[in-house]
């Protein structure tokens, strides 16, 4: 349904220019203009506008008077105030009215039109057809923007929901499944549609996911790769019950303490995490996002080497990356676990680290996995 926009400003030429510019969006919304609050009130009594954008300072009644009037009339559309007088006092007054967005003049037309389109998109909900890239891009955008909303994903036979809170997926539901399993299946759907719902429209009943968004997405990506899936199955077949690990976290902390003692202020961060889900087990100044990133990177390196044409190399004990700013990172590849160390290369002797410290912490780690 085509939306309706009303622009209110006493600057006639300015408004006519905006109206002309916005005419290219007629398939999404139509634009009416008026030059006083009185005129705007008359028009609002006849037509429902989905969005009203009004200048604040005008001869006679102000844009704020219009806002107060509309609120008294139980107006349910959007309202943006425009002003060139963005003094703290004016902004404070606007803020005190609540529920009012302010556009400071002068503004760029493209920015202005984007603002309107964003408003209508949010109100109407974004929707689209699933292809894996479009859906994951949308989810990443929601994460970056730290949005709280619900993404509905549906195909011919079923539907599911991904619940976002401040950019993190906190719950997923698909058929009878909930939690991470449901999220995996929804994000991996190849055919269907997605749409965004207001969180008030689809209220969350319980939170079933507590891993960071990046880790969840990374796990989904891993599952998407058929080769990796085969490897996982192969590994599962290889592993028997006596390979189940009861990790001794106290020992891990002991290893971390030893590392801190040996590297002193040269050690910037360290984190031991599970390869399967990126969850940290122990660390010092841990960085969950970095752990997720390097977990993914390790997987790429391991896969690339494993799938190399000559098939003559596999990832060995560790890989080391020289970073700018005197930093260096070393990732110890322990199979089901990984251990990342970020250190200052000017403060740490690499030979000592590789030949003395790492063998020692590996010994302690090994004791942690064997109990």
């Amino acid at each position: 349904m085509i939306k309706r926009l009303l622009l209110v400003d006493d600057e006639k030429f300015f408004l006519e220019g905006l109206k002309e510019g916005l005419s290219e969006y007629e398939s999404i919304f139509t634009t009416d203009i008026c030059f006083s609050v009185e005129e705007a009130i008359d028009m609002c009594n006849q037509i429902h506008y989905d969005l009203i954008i009004s200048d604040i300072r005008m001869p006679g009644k102000s844009g704020l008077d219009l806002f107060v009037y509309l609120r008294g009339q139980d107006y349910r559309g959007g309202f943006f105030a425009m002003t060139a007088y963005g003094s703290p006092e004016v902004l404070e007054k606007i803020k005190s009215l609540g529920g009012l967005d302010v556009l400071l003049k002068p503004f760029d037309f493209n920015w202005f039109s984007e603002k309107i389109l964003d408003f209508f998109s949010e109100e109407e909900g974004v929707s689209g057809t699933i292809d894996s890239i479009a859906l994951t891009s949308l989810l990443q955008m929601i994460n970056l923007e730290k949005k709280s909303l619900v993404v509905k994903v549906e195909n011919k036979t079923s539907e599911g929901f991904l619940y976002f809170e401040k950019g993190e997926i906190v719950h997923a539901q698909f058929r009878e499944e909930t939690g991470e399993e449901a999220a995996f299946h929804l994000i991996k759907l190849k055919r269907g549609r997605f749409s965004i719902l207001n969180p008030n429209e689809k209220k969350i009943k319980q939170k079933t996911i507590d891993i960071p968004f990046m880790v969840l997405m990374m796990n989904v990506m891993k599952m998407e790769d058929e080769n990796i899936k085969d490897n996982i199955l192969e590994d599962k077949n290889k592993n028997n019950k006596d390979e189940e690990v009861n990790m001794d976290v106290k020992k891990l902390n002991e290893a971390v303490e030893y590392l801190k003692d040996q590297l002193g202020k040269g050690l910037l961060h360290t984190d031991i995490w599970s390869t399967a889900d990126g969850q940290s087990l122990a660390g010092f100044n841990p960085q969950p996002k970095a752990a997720a990133l390097f977990n993914q990177l390790t997987q790429h390196i391991a896969d690339a080497l494993h799938q190399s044409e000559d098939d003559f190399v596999e990832l060995g004990r560790y890989y080391l990356i020289d970073l700018i700013g005197d930093h260096m990172i070393i990732i110890l590849y322990l199979g089901d676990y990984q251990w990342g160390l970020l250190f200052n290369k000017k403060e740490v002797q690499l030979g000592l680290l590789l030949n003395i410290v790492i063998p020692k912490i590996i010994d302690i780690f090994e004791e942690a996995v064997t109990g």
């Binding site: 290889k238 390979e243 004990r317 560790y318 590849y333 322990l334 199979g335 996995v369």
Partner: protein, 67 residues
């Protein structure tokens, strides 16, 4: 003490990295440090060698340091 087991640990780490070494430790339930304090009994060597062969994906005999 535990020289053979220690050598098996070395071979597995060389051929299969820390990943392999961890699998060996978990499969046998004995860490390298603990193995170094134990006697190299025939049973123990057999257990370690079988696990090591499987982890490396081939017979590890050729990799033993015979010195």
């Amino acid at each position: 003490m535990g020289a053979v087991i220690n050598e098996i640990y070395r071979i597995v780490t060389d051929r299969a990295g820390f990943k392999g070494r961890m699998r060996l430790a978990v499969r046998t339930g004995i860490s390298r440090t603990r193995a170094a304090q134990m006697e190299d009994t025939p049973d123990m060597i057999t257990k370690f060698k079988e696990a090591a062969d499987e982890i490396v994906g081939s017979d590890i005999d050729p990799y033993f340091d015979r010195r």
